[in-house]
Amino acid sequence: MNFDLSSDQKLLVDTATSFAKKSSPVSRARKLRSDPLGFEPKMWKQMAELGWLGLCVPEADGGFGARFIDLALVLEQLGTTLVPEPILATCVLGGTALARAGSAEQRGRWLAPLAAGELHAALAWAERGGRYDPAGCAARAEKSAGGHRISGEKVWVQGGHAAQLFLVTARTAGRPGEASGVSLFAIDRDAPGVEVQPVETMDGRRAAMVRLGGVEVGADRMLGGEGTAAALVEDVLDAGAAAACAESSGMAQAVLAMTVDYLKTREQFGVKIGTFQTLQHRAVEMFVETELCRSHAIEASLRIDEGGADERRQAVSAAMVQLATGGRGVVRTAIQLHGGIGCTDEHDVGLYFKRMQALGALLGDEDHHLARFAALSQPPGEPL
């Protein structure tokens, strides 16, 4: 057991820290809220050059083949200033789906450009009514002459507004709720029948609603085995959730520092408000939850490519519950301790508050992850 950074990891973290501080302070995230793309292609290019976009792409497919924890460490730093580039959407969700399910030919076609920053691939899996279960998929893929004809609607597709390629789940068999029968297809944005509606999300970012009206795809467009994508997508979402937890760990650290700083400077009743024990103890609670967010996030990220599936699911769900309770608690308390100014749009604390809220809504809420954790919990009588 060792939680020290290797020299390579130190270099990655130092680079990400200085990028967040110098090239992308919170003011940049704030400005890009009103931008239709929500991020900057020149920054995306820079991230490709730094090697971040291809970090977890296998070496054979044009990436660096690093461990997931390495990318998580970068995301943690980028979280401290709310860097808005869609690494989670494109690299973690899109990239992991391609890497895990793609054939050698498919990986060669899409992963290398993704790692080079030339392609945004968005995972389109969520539907109205499906909540957080990939098996809730109702979109249909019917056999056609050349392959499949796909119809359905996908909602809140992360990075969908910017994607050139959609990785879409659709049923080749079975009914919504059944684990088998869901397949994964790669669909070009400009394919006939694809309609993309860009939408704003409550955290100032962008996503898309995607409607598929009888989109024809060739046989070479199915990713992975027919009917097996629900389990695959659950695995990919685990990577996404671990990434979200890493990002939120960085956010919690930044918000804690911001709040402690405010307590040390703001004066009322003739003294610094940080001298009040009531406020000190609330700040300590923020500190405790921040440390727990970090602990959970580290375990979740390490388990993405280490150990068994059940252990991974439990660790990820535990970390997401911590995000939904402790992590959200940190940003909510931060607003309370800032007082009125914390409730305005002009103060940064609100940006973190909204992002923390959105991350939980995107990758599974507290009830979902509690139930998933409970289902895997050891029954009574097992040895410890």
Binding site: N2, T275, Q280, A283, L292, S295, S317, A318, A374, L384
Partner: protein, 403 residues
Amino acid sequence: MELAFTPEHEQFRRDVRSWIQGALPPDLKAKAEVDANFDMAESMRWHKILHQKGWVAPQWPSEYGGPGLDATRRFILTEELELAGTPPLSPFGLSMVGPLLMQFGSPAQKQRYLPKILAGEEVWCQGYSEPNAGSDLASLRTTAVKNGSGKYVVDGQKTWTTYAQYADWIFCLVRTDPSTAPGPGGKGKKQEGISFLLIDLKTPGVEVKPMLTLGGTPAFCETFFTGAEVPAENLVGPEGGGWTLAKALLGHERTLIAAVGQSRRVVRRLKRIAGAQVGADGRKLIEDPRVRSRIAGLEIKLRGLQMANYRSLAGAQLGKAPGPESSILKLRGSEILQQAFELAMDIMGPDSLTWFNEPGVVAPFEEWVPSAFCYTRATTIYGGSNEIQKNVIAKYILGLPAR
């Protein structure tokens, strides 16, 4: 970064586990099986068995008779003992005064006291708190003033002297310079007149009165000193240096105070109870999604604590000073242990009314839950209340200003 223990450490864990299974006497094993409370005699029996194996003081370096284990092995040994539910050892000698003597004691003091602590031949208790010096410990008023024959004469009262009724010795914080006592006429800083003194409980003028705890068990005591004469050689460290020693004690082995193993056992126990209790709908409580969800919530909190503990441990293994994650361990660990018993009581439902009844009134593994539930209110108070822990974190880690 590496989550797994090394193969050598995993092997050590298996060795410890199988040794415990063989070494724990059958009657103690039967009690552990249902998580019954152990009495002091049982704890001391187990102390001596562990001592024979050389494992009674995992934290002690080999020059003092400890097993000379690395930080991870110390942790594994302690955790396995907790997970197996073996009788808890009295911490006052092994974890408190022993390490303090190693750091601050004279060669003669080390030679006199340490071997007997290790062998379980002398049992210790702690004399810190007083009726008017709890969280504000430095306000203590028990005095130790030298008389004509060079002995300290001790007068005053100590409280929460846990297990003093079974102890041979007490280590005390006493005021050797009464002019520093707080209040009108007090001179200098109140911390400066405090010294660290070892007192034989058989000394004339020392009286121990046990008190029942909320758990209905005799753990706490009050200890009274009336003109008790203590040899000057029983002073540890310099006269007036007691506060430094008291603070040093707080820094020892923080990875062990999270009580993760203990809480994991309570979680296992409450699952067992939930597997036996039947709800109004005829289902076992463990099958009720609401109950499962509450248990999962607790397990997740415990998992986060365990991971924070591992981070702290991995740092200790590399010889680093405790990081910020270490300071949350006592705070959250004590809360989680309480919450685990609260949930166990809820799951027991009407059966949680039981209080030291004959066998058969409730299941054997339920019998001790109400007592332990009551007793664990103390976990967020002893060793520095959680509010004091928060003050310390606010000041030393967050750097928030004092009034």
